[in-house]
């Protein structure tokens, strides 16, 4: 009997020839990532448990990326960045991306691949639920709490219950021009529910997935947590190789699921048959098609976050926004500083993306998590009252983007951009048929 990709990685990292779903194993950790919200309490627990003079297990394997509450006057939030800074100095950490320096990156889940920390076959833990994004690179990656992070800081190990794997097989040669990975994952979450993959791995496979870029794959695995999944994973291939090798010289070993691996369940889709999808307020599984919601009232549009703030997300939005004025308050927040710089150099018909957004009347923010999770009251783009927002982010439970009186519709950057231009929810197929050659 074979093993899945996830089982193989957990077996290798726990010193076992094989593991089975339900086994509790202690795994060796390749990378631990933390940020400004959960880093300070994790550091507090680390010192309390291992001593004030304790050193982390391996400073080459600890990555600290402040990204959540950066551009705020909140005194507590700024103190938390100070705590990270002091810890990085005390531990002499080589991978601390400090605020206010050239090293500052922005959203950790996009910064990790940019900096070469997402490598096939490895085990990555992070103090953030969207750590599962890194599974796009064929590794085991999942979110943990502060106590578990402190435990890893001291020991380099953590216990894991081996998950069952749900297999999502995608047929189809390529994404239709109006469709994005966001539509695929919203469709899946809508089908299986926000707890449809609880305690399980979501493995995405098939020719339809092989046809996706790394950024598209990251959007898929990013939202595995929105179905309750422990991790999301895509088998590595030449697309993965090309990305990872352009970002790091570190060796890695690709791992694949066996043909006779045992799955919890199998689910079949064809990417060419899907349509633009939306999650209505107040749950990521409250699904509808963009067509069904056509004309729905909106106050605001938001494009950003680890889910929908990557370069390809802005390129998609700019394709639709180009030559138009937005009718909604439209917020553009690049995930990382690298993406922010690329907005100046990437062009459509010779016009930089940033100019397309500016000329349309969009508001442009600094690289960070910003309003995706609300944050302090002065956060850029935060929903502070009863606004109705369409957003390329990942979660729309009550209060997620600020006020619990606000309403959030989740959609692809194409759909968000189309809606920003018309002022109401709009199926992007109308625009794409008009503008794409």
């Amino acid at each position: 009997m074979g093993m899945t990709l996830t089982e193989k990685i957990l077996a290798k990292h726990s010193g076992n020839d094989r593991v089975s779903p339900g086994d509790n194993v202690w795994v060796d950790v390749d990378v631990l990532m933390t940020h400004d919200v959960c880093g300070p309490p994790a550091i507090g627990i680390f010192h309390k448990q291992f001593g004030e003079d304790a050193k982390v297990w391996d400073k080459e394997k600890l990555v600290i990326i402040p990204d959540h509450y950066i551009f705020t006057n909140d005194k507590y939030a700024n103190r938390n960045v100070d705590i990270l800074r002091a810890f990085a100095a005390e531990q002499d950490l080589p991978y601390f991306y400090d605020v206010g320096t050239d090293r500052y990156k922005g959203v950790c889940h996009v910064a990790l691949p940019e900096e070469g920390f997402t490598r096939p076959g490895e085990v990555l833990f992070g103090t953030d639920s969207h750590t599962c994004t890194a599974g796009a690179f064929g590794q085991f990656a999942t979110g943990i709490g502060n106590t578990d992070a402190a435990f890893i800081m001291g020991t380099g190990k953590l216990w894991v219950k081996v998950p069952e794997t749900m297999r999502f097989v995608f047929e189809g040669a390529s994404l239709p021009p109006y469709l994005m990975a966001k539509d695929i994952i919203l469709k899946i979450i809508g089908d299986i529910g926000v707890d449809g993959a609880t305690y399980r791995t979501m493995e995405f496979t098939g020719p339809g997935i092989k046809a996706l870029t790394m950024e598209d794959r990251m959007t898929l695995t990013n939202m595995a947590i929105e179905a309750g999944g422990k991790n999301g994973v895509v088998e590595p291939d030449e697309v993965t190789d090309a990305y990872v090798k352009s970002r790091t010289d570190k060796p890695f070993e690709k791992v694949y699921s066996d043909p006779d691996a045992v799955y919890h369940s199998e689910h079949f889709y064809n990417i060419e048959e899907l349509v633009p999808m939306i999650a209505k307020p107040h749950s990521p599984d409250n699904k509808a098609t963009a067509e069904e919601l056509e004309g729905t009232y909106l106050d605001r549009a938001y494009i950003g976050s680890c889910t929908g703030g990557k370069l390809s997300d802005f390129r998609a939005a700019a394709e639709i926004i180009r030559g138009n004025k937005v009718k909604l308050d439209t917020y553009i927040v690049p995930a990382t500083t690298e993406i922010a710089r690329a907005l100046e150099t990437e062009t459509i018909y010779g016009t930089p993306l940033i100019d397309i957004f500016r000329e349309a009347g969009c508001k442009i923010g600094n690289a960070s998590c910003a309003a995706c999770l609300g944050g302090p009251s002065d956060t850029f783009g935060r929903l502070n009252s009863e606004e109705v927002c369409i957003s390329s982010t990942n979660r729309n439970y009550p209060g997620r983007m600020g006020s619990k009186q606000a309403q959030v519709y989740l959609a692809s950057p194409y759909t968000v951009a189309a809606s920003a231009v018309t002022g109401v929810i709009t199926d992007p197929r109308v625009f794409i048929q008009q503008t794409v050659i």
Binding site: N24, V37, C38, P40, P41, G44, K48, Q49, G51, Y69, D74, Y76, A77, R79, N80, G126, T127, D128, S129, T131, G143, I144, G145, N146, T147, D148, F151, G154, T155, K157, W159, K161, V194, D195, T198, Y199, G228, K230, S283, L373, G374, G375, P376, S377, R395, Y397, P398, G399, R400, G402, K404
Partner: protein, 191 residues
């Protein structure tokens, strides 16, 4: 602290399904210190403050977990429907409930990171019920959890329900978290 297997008694606070971590502790409040003895009380004050008012303290609704200007609740046991604690990995979620005085939760299912954080951090005991009890129990009912026999007793309504044994995490729960467990088993040196 260590979690004994003595009965847990107290008033129920009832919630619905998919109560996510932003409802348990809204993101704007994640900035306070969990170590400072005074500042950490703010987590008790704001615990469950993101739950829409009409869904807070069912079936009546519009009941706060902690009264205005207080940091500790009169309620000790949360009863909720499916997928409790979904959303983010913030350990501030089980921590804020413990700071508010919650000793245990009984739900039909948990989101996994919340469950894991509750156990590994030793904040409170996450029990699972066989059926959704959020429609049976009323906020304010006096409850008793008999841990030895896996029974939830509703003393107010004079009803009893079987709950699931803790299973493989019982040792970590009763040790009081992953660090105490690791010290008991020799994985981490005693200090």
């Amino acid at each position: 602290m260590s979690k004994s297997s003595e009965p847990i008694k107290g008033k129920a606070f009832v919630l619905g399904k998919n109560v996510d971590t932003d409802q348990i502790i809204p993101a704007a409040h994640l900035v306070y210190s969990l170590e400072d003895p005074e500042e950490r009380k703010l987590y008790g004050k704001y615990a469950l403050s993101g739950v829409p008012s009409q869904e807070s303290g069912l079936p009546q609704g519009n009941i706060r977990l902690t009264k205005e200007d207080e940091t500790e609740s009169e309620f000790k046991i949360i009863v909720a429907s499916d997928n409790f604690g979904c959303g983010s990995s913030r350990e501030h979620a089980p921590a804020c409930l413990e700071i508010a005085g919650i000793k245990a939760i009984v739900t039909s299912s948990y989101a996994r990171i919340f469950y894991r954080n509750s156990v590994d951090g030793g904040f409170l005991i996450p029990f699972e019920s066989y059926e959704d009890l959020s429609k049976e129990v009323h906020t304010g009912d006096e409850l008793e959890i008999d841990q030895e026999n896996h029974i939830l007793k509703n003393l107010t309504q004079k009803k009893e329900y079987k709950i699931k044994p803790l299973g493989s995490v019982a040792d970590i729960v009763h040790a009081g978290g992953i660090f105490k467990y690791a010290r008991q088993t020799g994985m981490v040196a005693e200090r």
